[in-house]
Amino acid sequence: MRAGSSRVALVLAVLALGACDRDEIVDPDPDVAPGPTSSTLETLLDMGMLSEWTDTAFGGFARAGFTGYVQVVGGAAIGTSRGLIRFAEVDTGGSEVQAFDSARVVMSVDSAFTFLPATGMTILQLVELQQEWDVSATWEFAVDTLGVATPWSGGPGGSLGPTIVSEDTLALIVTDTTTELPDSLVFWLGEAADSLLRLWADSLAVNTGLAVVVADSGQVRLGGTRVLFNTIPVSNPDTAVARSASSTARTFIFDPTGTENIEGILRIGGVEAWRSYVQFVVPDSVPVLGSSELYPLRGSTINTAQLLLISREQLPAPFPAEEPFQTVSYELVDDFLVFGPRTPVGKAVAGSSVVLYPDSLAAGDTLRFDITRLLGTWSRASPDSLPRLRFLIRPSSAAATFGFWEFGAVDGDPAFAPVLRVVFTPPVEFGLP
């Protein structure tokens, strides 16, 4: 044969070997379908079925100053929180000011998170503060940054000075058809305006700012804060120039009484950005529902794996999360029992994002955190590696809500202890003919 024929022969030989095509789909009763069979199994592992389980909660990853709002609360049943505001950049237009007048602090009101008592009104006050603070302030400390912790000199919550505006009432606007809150709250500074604004305009003076407090009862969430005022120049005392300045520092501090003890509890969310840390060792073989026989989990395909956190009773106001927020899981690089809240955090666990809906979580209800990818990696790994799974659950946005949510931990009430749910398919044993 010629060389061309040989090449054709080679191509055809390859075709003959490998070009068998198949489009065979038959549709048997699943019970008798031919071929290698597989079984997908489900297991619910409580902590007692695992050789190791540790969990805890850490907070303090965010501060109220990082939020975009100021929450002011007062009243016996709903706790206490105070707004802290400072104006430190008051522009006078470069001319010498004879006097400041008509000054008022204007704060926008977030009606969605403002709750007035049954009377339909809440009285707020502007009060002088006695001590310098910054946006890291908490109920205990005026300054609480890495390496610097300055307690409030007057005790937790700080010492309040003289009242600047004795009262300003936030009240519902009632019309024939609607009942609504005003968009903003206005504190007229009155006679204190001139001295306060001179102080705020002096960059060298000690400026402790103002506190916003609830004088009676209610919860008010405040947004943007500005001071509006008129300046009367020395050069032209007959003319008042309208000016304004935004607050240069703004936060709020709240009394955490009733939430200090986190023993037996996992927390997620809140102003302090609570995170729940979990680490456990999964056995290579597990019992499945309806059977005491052990089935291999390691080496199996993990169809889904979920950490089931059981909701605790709702906290007293104002601490329960006030709106839904998204959570996400991250792998932990090291042991949180050693490194605590500073434990290095790895990558996000793919597909682990869950929205926590406070309104639909009663005590005993379950919130499922997907850790399929994490357990899948464990299942595919060598038995000598990845002996312990470590991850944390945190809100996807720090301090997205004022309140947080609590779940049972392993060292708490067993009725609320976490559970691991896994749906898995062990590998098929392909038989030889």
Binding site: A16, V32, G35, S291
Partner: protein
């Protein structure tokens, strides 16, 4: 097709990790045993009911190596075989399509009496696929899923062969065969609603072995040829790539006999019968159930348009009856088929195109709980140097 069965699978029933064909599973042609035997025939032999041992006018099927001795010029040829099947059974039904190249062969005359050759040919077709829907009961509710089980591949043969005319109408031949192939088996389970990750598991099973075929033809007169071929194989070794597990299946002793008669100048009649001692492999395939394979077939060929000996066109009619070796319910199934074929020379007789269509049935609903009707097309083309 497309009748979807839904079946509530009890949670955590025993993890029935089974071999390829577990007890309780429906037995389907091509799935049981080693697969579906495929003969390395060309379209002309197919149209003549599988008469592939001896044929006047050039026997191109890779059955009897002695037939090479009657090929007097270099050539290559190829067969292509698409097939549609309709399966009906108590527990399964469906329509399928498949296609393969059962034969590629070449001949190279070394001398006026000695012809060498090589061929690739099919041996066992292990292509099949089943798909069904089912429902898994979980604590979170029902989780419907679709499962697909596929087997792709088979066992082919490569043969080096030679035929020699030894005089007085006799020709003898021998072929050394290397059997080889890979079957990829895969199970895929996709959950349709629940956000469960799919399950995929697969492996590859390789096969290898050796075989020897010897054959002879005797032509006592111009219009009559008779022949036989005997084949024997070593163990066919199957090895699972993922586990390293290995098993051996003894290849059967095979015997084929056939005859070809010219009934006048334009009519040919050919018959063939074959037997393969597959039951000897029964001990190697304890779960399959194996019986000896038998086949018999024959047919007529009529040349109806021609130009002397230079070229011609042919009409063929044949029938075959064949017992497959691997048992379904109730025993091994019989395949019966009627064949029609056309053939034509081209390139002044240096090329030949043949086509065949077989209408047949495999198994019996009553005896085997499943019956397959099929339409098998075979096309082959051959080109010679002169």
């Amino acid at each position: 097709m497309s009748v979807r069965h839904r079946f509530a699978l009890l949670l955590a029933v025993g993890c029935a990790l089974a071999p390829a064909q577990a007890a309780g599973q429906v037995k389907l042609p091509g799935v049981v045993g080693l697969g579906r035997p495929v003969q390395p025939y060309d379209a002309r032999a197919r149209a003549l009911g599988g008469a592939a041992v001896v044929l006047h006018g050039g026997n191109l099927s890779a059955v009897n190596p002695a037939s090479l001795a009657r090929i007097h010029s270099s050539g290559i040829w190829l067969a292509y075989q698409p097939e549609t099947r309709s399966l009906k059974g108590d527990a399964v039904s469906g329509d399928t399509e498949t296609a393969s190249f059962p034969l590629f062969r070449m001949a190279l005359p070394m001398s006026p009496r000695w012809v060498g050759g090589a061929a690739f040919g099919s041996m066992l077709d292990r292509n099949w696929s089943v798909q069904f829907t089912d429902t898994l009961s979980l604590t979170t509710g029902d989780a419907p899923f679709q499962e697909t089980r596929t087997s792709d591949g088979g066992v082919a043969q490569f043969r080096l062969e030679s035929g020699i005319s030894v005089g007085s109408g006799w020709a003898v031949g021998a072929a050394v065969q290397y059997f080889f192939g890979e079957t990829r088996i895969k199970v895929t389970r996709i959950f349709l609603e629940d956000p469960l990750l799919p399950y995929v598991s697969q492996t590859a099973i390789r096969a290898s072995g050796w075989g020897l075929t010897v054959g002879a033809e005797y032509q006592p007169a111009e219009d009559f040829i008779v022949g036989l071929a005997a084949s024997w194989g070593s163990d066919l070794t199957f090895r699972d790539d993922s586990t390293g597990a290995e098993t051996k299946v003894g290849l059967p002793l095979g015997l084929d006999v056939g005859a070809s008669m010219l009934l006048g100048s334009d009519v040919l009649f050919a018959v063939a019968a074959g037997w393969e001692n597959w039951s000897s492999a029964g001990a190697d395939l304890p779960d399959a159930g194996v019986e000896d394979a038998w086949r018999v077939g024959g047919g007529f060929e009529v040349r109806f348009v021609s130009s002397g000996d230079a070229w011609g066109t042919f009409l063929r009619l044949g029938g075959s009856y064949e017992k497959l070796p691997f048992q379904l319910e109730g025993g091994s199934p019989w395949e019966r088929a009627l064949a029609l074929g056309l053939g034509a020379d081209f390139l002044g007789g240096r090329g030949r195109f043949d086509g065949a269509v077989e209408f047949g049935r495999l198994g019996s609903r009553d005896a085997n709980a499943v019956e397959e009707s099929f339409t098998r097309y075979t096309f082959s083309v051959a080109v010679f140097t002169n």
